[in-house]
């Protein structure tokens, strides 16, 4: 069985000579809840855009469910769902109009689209807001609707770029259980988030990207073991303590900040 998501030597450079993603390799098995982490500007969103066909890679290859994204993008897009960075909603539509539009674009027939629209709006707690224009939605409401649009066609692979940003705790709980339900039914989810607690709780496998390079990947236990082995040779921390994902992340990425001695700077504050 081919990986659900496979990228080989994936690279994206921009006109200014900036390489956002540099020869990365990824393999996400079917049914995995995969976390893709990295500091700001590391190349996460650029990678997601390439994996979902929103951005052409400069070089490298992408296979989704065994189909080549570059040669057969339409077939791939039929089977994936995306919550892109910025959500890409159509502000001058209502929620119902938007989901109807998305359903039809994915080839669902009218009746199924209407039925799923009603179900999704109810599930997301947006049923009472379905007549409002999306431009009047709060950020969290927009995220919920973007997620509803991403799953309306029942995708096998779901790409989520910061799906929980701005979503209230109750809704976040509901969404998490929905995503776990999808995983249980065999879907694959590729998630980026800065909320490491969520990633730690949901994801079975993780990759960390920094400055366009994958600097760590594996299951959470494998990442933990790697960092602990490194720490065992140093003097920094107790190598026997169970590291959180946040500690792993900071250790792998380096926790670089602009200030050498933060406590000595910006003293006029406060």
């Amino acid at each position: 069985m081919p990986p659900a998501i496979a990228a080989h030597s994936l690279t994206r450079s921009f006109d200014g000579g900036f390489t956002a993603v540099d020869r990365i390799d990824l393999a996400v098995e079917p049914g995995q809840f995969f976390g893709f982490l990295g500091p700001n500007g590391a190349g996460k969103s650029t990678t997601i855009k390439m994996l979902t066909g929103l951005l052409a890679p400069t070089s490298g290859s992408i296979q989704i469910l065994g189909e080549d994204m570059l040669n057969n993008p339409v077939e791939v897009k039929r089977h994936i769902g995306v919550v892109p960075e910025g959500m890409a909603l159509f502000g001058k539509l209502t929620a119902t109009e938007y989901l109807h539009f998305v359903g039809r674009m994915y080839g669902l027939d009218k009746q199924v689209t209407q039925q799923r629209t009603a179900e999704l709006l109810e599930f997301m707690g947006l049923a009472n807001e379905q007549k409002k224009l999306l431009t009047d939605y709060s950020h969290g409401m927009g995220k919920k609707l973007a997620l509803a649009a991403a799953v309306i066609h029942g995708p096998k692979v779901l790409f989520l770029d910061e799906p929980f940003e701005g979503v209230d705790a109750i809704a976040a709980g509901t969404l998490k259980s929905m995503l776990q339900g999808m995983i249980a039914r065999g879907a694959t989810i590729f998630l980026t988030s800065h909320v490491l607690e969520i990633v730690e709780r949901l994801c079975s496998h993780i990759a960390i990207i920094d400055k366009g390079h994958i600097v760590a990947k594996g299951s959470l236990d494998e990442l933990r073991a790697g960092v602990q082995a490194r720490l065992a040779h140093g003097e920094v921390a107790d190598p026997n303590a169970k590291l959180t994902l946040e500690q792993i992340f900071i250790n792998v990425v380096g926790g670089e900040s602009g200030a050498t001695h933060p406590e000595q700077e910006l003293q006029w504050l406060g």
Binding site: Y106, G258, W268
Partner: protein, 575 residues
């Protein structure tokens, strides 16, 4: 939650699903248009369209009827070859209208469609279809149809040939504009490119003026002798004859030749010329499709993506410890302006410098004055030239006040969070507009002095007082409209540089025209009664009243803005 994650449509993609996609996109476009009127100010927008659309239709039918009559006349008099002139006119008008009226896609970004399973062919078809429906392309097609009808009425036997060749011409014309604008939009995606583009247009206009000035006999009144002028005119005609074979090989020329061939009973020649025009249409389509293919594969055109490059991180600066609460520095005042006004003025200067749309709208009227001042001076009374040129120049500046926060978008919230008076903010923004108006009027004054003659002191003073009164009244109204009817501006798209909502644009234009009418009336009365000084005191009083009204309005702008901030943020902070 039945269905999620379980039932992807694994079956083959059907033609019905493709049709459903097209229907969904058409429905999307329709709902976006209809829903636009649901927002606050929607009724105003509707009224503005009810007023402007018939005007626009009238404007469209004028040239259409003219070319129809022209085609009839040429066909009737055996000059079918001259029909190519009408088609060149159609082509140029179509492109000019496309530049001025903008391209579709400004209501939603069509590149968003690539995330759906839409095939490349269908994507190109959708992009082409929306593009063909621009007002300019509709007018171009109507004009082509009018030429066909005109020629057919004069020579009924030509009806089939005329309809066929003009239909192909209309397609080539529309495809050309789609091709150009698709590439221009891509090219204009970065600020630097937009600046270069503006520069090119500017120099093109100047080049045109040079040719006009060199070859047009109307300019010989005090710059050159008749002999020199005639020599240059001959050179121009000579150039035209040399260019003719090249012009004949382009779509307007080919279409004209095809009609001539059809009239002469040469069906093969007709077919050849028509196929030649069709080949151009196909080539335009191919280049357009090439751009769409790149768009379909995914690209990031933003300045952020393409302008960023990794720079070596400079070592953190060692900042000397400062006391936690250093005493505030005494506020430095520039020209007696408050620090808030100075700061906002500085920011506005940066925005003007970095926004080619505004820059172009400011430069264009001055360039037009430059183009036509000499010609007008030869045909009409010089008394009218400076006031008329100045009124025309204000067309670029006056609308700016009607959407003061459009470029700042959500950033405008800062003014409501910071401890500043909105009076100072508006004053700074208005000051910027006044400064621009002053520079433009000075440029117009110099241009008229050089090309025609220096306006008299009385004329200049009257004109300046009129301009001051008009600008102040317009700005007073514009400040209020900036709050109640703002419009978020996206600078990266061609034709999206509309500076205000349609109703605000209409108000601004109406006020300017009304004021120009009053000014012209007073000027006329002064001349008629032999009292050329008459407008001066009246304009002085009007300017004084305008200053009073402006200051009073500015004093109450904070209260007004707080009362209407919901309208402001609803539009500017929308996603």
């Amino acid at each position: 939650m039945a269905g999620v994650g379980l039932t992807p449509n694994d079956g083959r993609w059907t033609a019905a699903q493709t049709r459903a996609q097209f229907a969904a996109i058409a429905q999307l476009r329709w709902r976006i248009t209809v829903n636009a009127f649901r927002r606050k100010g929607g009724a105003g927008e509707m009224i503005a369209r009810i007023i402007t659309y018939p005007l626009f239709a009238g404007f469209a039918f004028g040239p259409t009827i003219l070319v129809g009559i022209g085609a009839y006349y040429f066909a009737l008099n055996g000059h079918l070859d001259h029909i190519s002139w009408l088609l060149w006119g159609t082509f140029v008008l179509c492109q000019l209208l496309n530049i001025n009226l903008g391209q579709p896609g400004t209501t939603f970004d069509p590149t968003q469609l690539i995330r759906f399973p839409l095939s490349l062919g269908n994507y190109v078809a959708v992009r082409l279809f929306f593009g063909l429906l621009t007002p300019a392309n509709v007018i171009g097609s109507l004009m082509a149809l009018a030429v066909a009808i005109g020629a057919t009425v004069a020579l009924p036997a030509l009806w089939f040939y005329a309809l066929l060749s003009l239909a192909i011409f209309a397609a080539a014309n529309a495809l050309f504009s789609r091709m150009v604008f698709a590439w221009v939009d891509r090219w204009l995606s970065t600020r630097r490119a937009r600046e270069i583009f503006t520069g090119l247009i500017f120099f093109f206009s100047l080049g045109f003026q040079y040719l006009n000035f060199t070859f047009n006999p109307a300019y010989n009144h005090h710059h050159q002798t008749n002999a020199v002028s005639a020599a240059r005119l001959n050179a121009g005609i000579n150039f035209y004859h040399h260019a003719l074979p090249f012009l004949a090989a382009l779509p307007p020329g080919l279409t004209g030749s095809s009609l001539v061939a059809a009239h002469r009973g040469q069906p093969l020649a007709f077919l050849g010329f028509t196929l030649g025009c069709a080949a151009f249409a196909a080539a335009f389509f191919a280049v357009f499709a090439l751009r769409m293919r790149t768009e379909f594969r995914g690209e990031d055109l933003s300045d952020q993506a393409n302008a960023v490059s990794h720079k070596a991180k400079s070592p953190a600066k060692s900042i000397a410890a400062a006391p936690a609460s250093s005493p505030a520095q005494p506020e430095s005042r520039f020209l007696g302006l408050s620090s808030v006004t100075t700061a906002v003025l500085g920011k506005e200067l940066l925005y003007v410098r970095r926004n080619t749309g505004i820059f172009y709208s400011l430069v264009a009227p001055v360039v037009m004055v430059f183009l036509f001042a000499g010609r007008l001076a030869t045909h009409s009374n010089a008394t009218w030239l400076f006031p008329a040129a100045m009124a025309y120049t204000l067309l670029g500046v006056a609308p700016l006040a009607y959407n003061s926060f459009g470029l700042e978008a959500a950033g405008s919230q800062f003014y409501f969070m910071a401890p500043v008076r909105l009076r100072d903010v508006f004053f700074a923004k208005n000051l910027m507009n006044f400064l621009l108006a002053f520079v433009e009027i000075a440029a117009v004054f110099i241009i008229i002095t050089v090309i025609a003659r220096m306006p008299s002191l009385l004329n200049a003073a009257s004109g300046l007082l009129w301009a001051a009164a008009t600008l102040l009244f317009s700005t007073t109204l514009g400040n209020r409209r900036s709050i109640t009817a703002p419009k978020k501006i996206t600078v990266a798209k061609m034709g999206s540089g509309k500076q205000a909502s349609p109703l605000s644009a209409l108000i601004s234009m109406g006020l300017l025209m009304g004021s120009a009418g009053i000014g012209a009336g007073l000027l006329f009365l002064g001349i008629f009664f032999g009292m050329p000084w008459l407008p001066l005191p009246i304009f002085a009083v009007l300017a004084g009243v305008a200053v009073f009204v402006y200051v009073r309005s500015l004093d109450s702008i904070d209260r007004f803005a707080l009362a209407h901030r919901d309208e402001l943020f609803e539009e500017l902070c929308k996603k």
